[in-house]
């Protein structure tokens, strides 16, 4: 280990030859670039693409690890930052929403069971549940309670989605233009 450290951070240790998850600074970048639960993952250094993970337990949204290219243009940076921010915003909204749903559903079930005079567990020891028709009251109430919240979310989501797509289009055109135009003299 000490010998490896002496080699310096940039050198690949002999055992990790494939460049898969390497130097600590890559880990640092990963942690900074994608704060939150998704930060454990680090894509291979050679990959020039974004990586998408499994659905989050709370929000059911798939986190994306955005790749930061070496010569990132201002438009690309703006796009990446918007996508990252939208991802975090979405994550917060849906995690909160799903948690609230679960919590309120439990409370509803408990209160209804109490009204009926039943315990929280059935005779077999499993959690007692209400049937779909009894739950219907809860679903209606939850939907109407969160209606305004959803209206605001919808409006923001549509705006962000369209902005991201527009920026993606601009970046794609920029890249195409970069490739097609006559190259300037390369640095020696």
């Amino acid at each position: 280990m000490a010998a490896w450290r002496v080699l310096g951070k940039r050198r690949l240790p002999p055992l990790a030859a494939r460049g898969w998850r390497l130097a600590p600074e890559r880990g640092a970048e990963c942690g900074e670039a994608a704060p939150g639960r998704a930060s454990r993952f680090c894509p291979p250094r050679k990959s020039g693409h974004d990586w998408i993970g499994p659905p989050d337990k709370l929000s059911n949204l798939r986190p994306v690890h955005f790749h930061v290219p070496e010569h990132e243009s201002p438009a690309e940076q703006k796009l990446r930052e918007l996508r990252q921010e939208t991802q975090d915003w979405n994550q917060r909204f849906w995690a909160r929403q799903n948690l609230a749903f679960r919590k309120e559903k439990e409370e509803f079930i408990h209160s209804r069971l109490k009204e009926k005079g039943l315990g929280l567990r059935t005779e077999s020891g499993q959690k007692a549940t209400l049937n779909a028709e009894e739950m219907a009251d809860f679903y209606k109430e939850f939907l109407s309670k969160n209606f305004q919240k959803h209206m605001c979310y919808n409006r923001d989501w549509y705006r962000r989605n369209l902005a991201i797509t527009y920026l993606m289009g601009r970046v794609a055109l920029e890249r195409a233009w970069d490739r097609l135009r006559p190259k300037p003299k390369t640095r020696s």
Binding site: R21, P55, Y139
Partner: protein
């Protein structure tokens, strides 16, 4: 269970073996991660028990664990990299905390032996980090590179455009075309079908583009391409444009401007009215019913060039059919709709939901009787269609009265075979052209 009616319906809609295979494959794919997790849990438990044994024995067990987990990556990599990653220590802490027999001092174990023995004994690093890395690599395996592969593209685009639903839409358009009076023009028929298919693909793609976070949260839709990151939103919009423009152009210039206008209007109605309205008001169901009714009207106008009573009748039949179909389906999805913020009758106005479904089942009876009156079919049609119309009305009535899962599922599945059969009966009873004019009275 909310997912199953819809997967089943897709199978029926596809009309055969292909759909069956898809359904079975999907269930198989869903089954395998659970088995894998089970194996992994057992492996972890084994490791805990053996932790106190000699060094060599531990090595053997971990090799066994790794083979159970079927890691693809070479042995050395994951082990060393786990120590290089900052997060690994927190992961190790989590792992250690979970396994109760561990003393807190064992936290240092994953690091020390390796520091001394790393060079001498490579597999040493395997042992301490094995479970820790196992969980990490399992999570990491689920991370996919967002790189579009050309081979996957057809499959991705098929799912993006909801190809099975598109096929159903095209078949209703074909039915409208075939039922229209006048000689059957094959080239016109093919152009209409193609144009309608392209328009439907475009509309479905835009719908999925708008609904990514909502689709992620519903069981029925969580495996869509945009949700899984298999395609970028830009590409989805580009695909939709590449379908919409030729589709509408084909309908306008290849068929007639009226059909083209209807196609364009339908795309607009579906993407800009129905999709956003789903989250605002229950009126979305009525708008969606109109969206479903327009394709057969397009088929009729493609054949005749005008909006006759027959076109409205066909549109009316499809419009009425949407209600028992959708209302019954939505009855089982109330939890997902409520959590996701969708305004559906089944959640907000359940009594209305059932009443409307029943009402439109009865309307189908009336419309079938109107078909010969308007000159679309002969009088045989309402007679032979009476049994199936009565049956769906009966199921609609049962759904109205019972208001439970069982009756909703029965009504939904009935609607799946009712429509194709009804259209087929209409085709067989199509009013033949008059001898003198070639045009039946309308």
């Amino acid at each position: 269970m909310a997912a199953s009616p819809h997967t089943l319906s897709s199978r029926l809609l596809a009309g055969g073996a292909g759909g069956c295979v898809w359904y079975l494959e999907r269930r198989a794919a869903q089954g395998s991660p659970h088995r894998f997790m089970h194996l992994f849990r057992n492996a972890g438990k084994q490791w805990v028990t053996f932790q106190h044994f000699a060094f060599l024995k531990r090595m053997y067990v971990t090799q066994l664990n790794r083979s159970l987990r079927q890691q693809i990556k070479p042995k050395s990599e994951p082990m060393t990299s786990s120590f290089l990653e900052k997060s690994s220590s927190s992961q190790a802490k989590a792992e250690v905390y979970e396994m109760k027999p561990f003393a807190p001092s064992s936290l240092s174990l994953p690091r020390k032996p390796n520091e001394t023995k790393l060079i001498e004994l490579e597999p040493a690093s395997i042992i301490e980090g094995s479970v820790d890395v196992g969980k990490e690599t399992k999570d990491e395996k689920q991370w996919k590179e967002m790189k579009l592969r050309v081979d996957d593209l057809p499959g991705i685009l098929a799912r993006l455009s909801k190809i099975k639903l598109t096929a159903l839409v095209v078949s209703t358009t074909s039915a409208g075309f075939a039922l229209a009076p006048g000689p059957f023009d094959l080239s016109c028929f093919l152009l209409t079908s193609l144009g309608t298919g392209l328009a439907s693909c475009a509309a479905n793609s835009i719908n999925q583009f708008f609904e990514v976070p909502f689709d992620s949260n519903m069981n029925r839709t969580k495996n869509r391409p945009l949700v899984r990151g298999q395609i970028s939103p830009l590409l989805a919009v580009a695909f939709a444009t590449c379908c919409a423009v030729p589709g509408v152009a084909l309908l306008t210039w290849g068929v007639n401007p009226l059909t083209g206008a209807l196609g364009l209007f339908n795309i607009f109605l579906y993407t800009c009215c129905y999709t956003p309205l789903k989250r605002v008001s229950i009126a979305n169901t009525w708008v969606g019913a109109v969206v479903g009714a327009i394709p057969p009207v397009m088929g009729w106008t493609a054949a005749t060039g005008s909006l006759d009573a027959g076109a409205f009748l066909l549109g009316g039949i499809l419009y009425s059919w949407q209600f028992p179909h959708f209302n019954a389906l939505s009855w089982g999805l109330r939890e997902d709709y409520s959590r996701g913020g969708y305004c559906m009758m089944s959640v907000t106005h359940p009594a209305l939901c059932r009443r409307v479904a029943l009402r439109h089942c009865l309307a189908l009876l009336a419309l079938s009787a109107a078909a010969p009156a308007l000159g679309v079919t002969t009088w045989t049609f309402p007679a032979i269609a009476l049994p199936i119309n009565l049956y769906i009305s009966y199921l609609g009535f049962r759904f109205y009265v019972d208001a439970d899962r069982k009756s909703s599922r029965k009504l939904f599945f009935c609607s799946l075979w009712h429509l194709p059969l009804l259209l087929l009966l209409m085709l067989t009873c199509k009013r033949p052209a008059d001898r003198d004019g070639g045009q039946p009275r309308s």
